[in-house]
């Protein structure tokens, strides 16, 4: 009995990277904040490169609390959207490599609570989100952000989201 040949790695990576690019590049506000996403398999890390316009207190200087909230919210929404997209993509139900890509609808934030643990330093910041619960209508997502040390979070947040309708 012969097993089907595994899919060539460049095809797998190409498909996943194209899907992620399509999801991220379509949102102007993500570009405005300069947030990018690193992907390892299905794991995403949001990266916010330091820029002077992100500063909230020029005296310290520290990253604006609103920027921190926005960064965490972007990371949470992307993780949730990516999780939804991943299953459909891997099952071959959607193709995001073509030029006429129709993107899935994005989840809507119901509420978002940010816990500020230390001031954001003027350097790159990273965030990873975890979908704690994802039902047909609602999802709960936790997200953590750090800078120099992974164990020393500068902020964390929990948000609830309304899932997008499956069909148009």
């Amino acid at each position: 009995m012969s097993r089907p040949k595994p899919e060539p790695v460049h095809l797998v990576k190409g498909r996943r990277d194209a899907a992620l690019r399509a999801l991220v590049s379509g949102v102007p506000y993500i570009q405005f904040l300069g947030i990018e996403f690193d992907r390892r398999g299905d794991e995403l890390t949001a990266v916010m490169r330091y820029d002077d316009k992100l500063i909230g207190n020029p005296l310290i200087p520290a990253i604006h609390g609103g920027v921190t909230a926005a960064f965490l919210e972007v990371a949470a929404i992307m993780e949730l959207s990516w999780t939804l997209l991943w299953e459909e993509m891997e099952a071959g139900l959607i193709d995001l490599t073509g030029p006429e890509t129709v993107l899935p609808r994005l989840p809507k934030t119901i509420d978002f609570t940010v816990d500020y643990l230390r001031s954001g330093l003027p350097r790159d910041a990273y965030a990873r989100a975890r979908v704690n619960r994802s039902g047909r209508r609602y999802a709960s997502v936790h997200v953590e952000a750090w800078q120099d040390n992974r164990a020393k979070l500068f902020a964390q947040a929990t948000g609830h989201f309304l899932m997008p309708d499956r069909e148009e």
Partner: protein, 145 residues
């Protein structure tokens, strides 16, 4: 709040690089309350299908507005930072409409200020979002502790 302090608050808000990047305008301030607004902009959109501004941009406006309200409190904190902020998104902000945030300190202790805030677009009635937050109260160095 006297004129000099009001002017100082305006200068303080306008010196915040991120407030400038979002085009925030201080509309009113004093007595532990503040009103801050910003224009809808294409580069702040969170959902390209609908043109609705990203929740993060609304959060930034609400956070700044809360900070300004703390700074304007009669107890005159020397500085403030966000401890926690919870935002409820009640409805999508109408694209191309200005967003206005209002925040007030409803209680302040020696160390913590408690705030409530709302964000409206140009349609009266139900806010786009509401927020509650806790902010630090920094005391001037060498002053009464």
């Amino acid at each position: 709040m006297d004129e000099a302090k009001l002017k100082q608050a305006r200068m303080f808000i306008e010196a915040i690089p991120h407030a400038r990047a979002l085009g925030m305008r201080l509309d009113a301030i004093g007595g532990g309350a503040a009103e801050l607004s910003m224009e809808w902009r294409e580069d702040l959109v969170g959902d390209p299908r609908t043109g609705v501004i990203h929740g993060g941009a609304v959060s930034a406006l609400l956070d700044t507005c809360c900070g300004a309200a703390v700074m304007s409190h009669p107890e005159a904190p020397a500085g403030t930072a966000t401890i926690d902020l919870r935002i409820d998104y009640m409805r999508a902000a109408t694209p191309r409409q200005r967003i206005t945030a209002r925040a007030e300190v409803y209680h302040i202790t020696r160390t913590v200020a408690f705030l409530r805030a709302t964000a409206h677009d140009e349609e009266a009635g139900l806010p786009v979002a509401s927020a509650t937050g806790a902010f630090t109260v920094e005391r001037p160095k060498g002053g009464a502790q």
